[in-house]
Amino acid sequence: MQRLQHILGIEGLTTEQITFILDQAKPFQEFQRYPLKKLATLRGKTVAIAFFESSTRTRISFTTAASRLGADTMNLQAESSSLKKGESLIDTVRTLEAMRPDGIVIRHAASGAPEFVAERLAIPVFNAGDGTHEHPTQGLLDALTIRDKKGSLEGWNITIIGDILHSRVARSNIHLLTKFGSRITLCGPAMWVPRELESLAPNVRRVLRIEDALTGADVVIVLRVQTERLHEPSIAAEEYILQYQLTPERLRLAKPDTIVLHPGPMIRGLEIDPAVADGPQSCVLEQVTNGLAVRMALLYHLIGGAPADAPHPAKERSNATD
């Protein structure tokens, strides 16, 4: 299995690599239950957290993951709107590089920005969300949640509801789940679920009525309605609620053991009825814990361990170490 150097997107990963990451996240899941949540594994390492788009949850998740592994973090929070002129990405990145972090977590409004950074720096790059391209750690933590609840990732009917066109989370989910043979149904207002999305991966179909989308679903992923939209008129909240809100009644159209995921933050009463958000089928809290576990596993593997070209040391045999 090819060693991972960066985590830029799900599209480029094999099922073997994805399975490895999910398996490696399991010990870190347990770890979240320990009374003392502090390891020295990455002690002395520094992780740069460079968020060019505002985020609380993902940033805190990555920062906590690094700290719990014993690493230090360098926090850069450059709120950039596309109108703001300032230091270019290349300059910011070079400045960070001069402080010699051991890895960089980056969230940016421009699709392709993490790849841009990875081409120019010699350290591992973790994509925490780029434009409308991918959010790979979200895709992985959703997969871990689904795998834990359903037992596997293969052959499920997965429905994603919302503004798919502008969702990097949806794209990562689509790439990952179809790699394992699950089928995706995309649902939302026509302007947010264009036909092109069906060409993203095999076994993807698009459906405009939520009732059709939910029938037979094993997993439902609800996306936030993004109200910050440039260049386009949005849809009135009442219109969206009327046609696409996930209510208990609508959820009943899905299979009885369906689970509900939401990448957060939720707007209760808009895309999701509070009864569903807090209900027994909702996995949003597990998603958060799994987010920590997945991010710890990734930081551990990409920053810990020998450089890729290091030879295996003489003490490689497991019973010859002390």
Binding site: P27, L36, H301, A306, H312, D322
Partner: protein
């Protein structure tokens, strides 16, 4: 790296007899089985701990719980382990607080594994006492660590490796001394 087998240190039967002796020693020197528990260090410490617990149950009619510990996250030499240091789960279903723990491993060498094991155990709680039980003590300590229960002490050189092979993992049962050849 090539290895050459030099000589056998323990035969299958000798392993068995040694484990029996160790099991009885532990029971004797523990002032009662009340809070006693065994922790097997991944990998080969686990079948050894399970066997010791089984012997304790059959001969001494003492029921001692067994937990497993993966020390990968606690190693101090992660960057020399190799490019893909895989992590496994630890499984300790009983609480660690106030326990009389005996950590079981196959070989005691530099002492670093034991240090990592102690770090791991302290992350889980506050044991009353920790002692170490090993099948082979091969010397060359780099830290002030000692084993209380030792199967056999062997003098070795730096290039030599002590290979413990157990049925559960290696499909054979013996302890070999092997040497690295250029």
């Amino acid at each position: 790296m090539r290895v050459v087998e030099k000589r056998q240190l323990l035969s299958g039967e000798e392993i068995s007899r040694t484990l029996t002796r160790l099991a009885h020693e532990i029971v004797e020197k523990s002032g009662g089985p009340k809070d006693l528990a065994l922790i097997g260090v991944r990998r080969r410490g686990i079948p050894l701990a399970e066997r010791i617990a089984s012997i304790m149950q059959q001969s001494a009619h003492v029921n001692v719980p067994v937990g497993t510990l993966d020390i990968t996250l606690y190693r101090d030499d992660l960057s020399t382990v190799g490019p893909q240091p895989v992590v496994h789960s630890s499984e300790i279903t009983f609480g660690v607080d106030d326990r009389d723990l005996v950590v079981v491993d196959d070989v005691l060498y530099t002492g670093r594994t034991m240090r990592a094991a102690m770090n791991g155990l302290f992350d889980l709680g506050r044991p009353r006492r920790i002692r170490l039980c090993v099948l082979i003590d091969r010397g060359h300590r780099e830290l002030p660590i000692e084993a209380t229960f030792i199967g056999r002490t062997v003098e070795t050189s730096d290039t030599e490796i002590v290979e413990v092979r157990l049925n559960e993992i290696d499909n054979e049962e013996r302890v070999m001394l092997v040497d690295r050849v250029a």
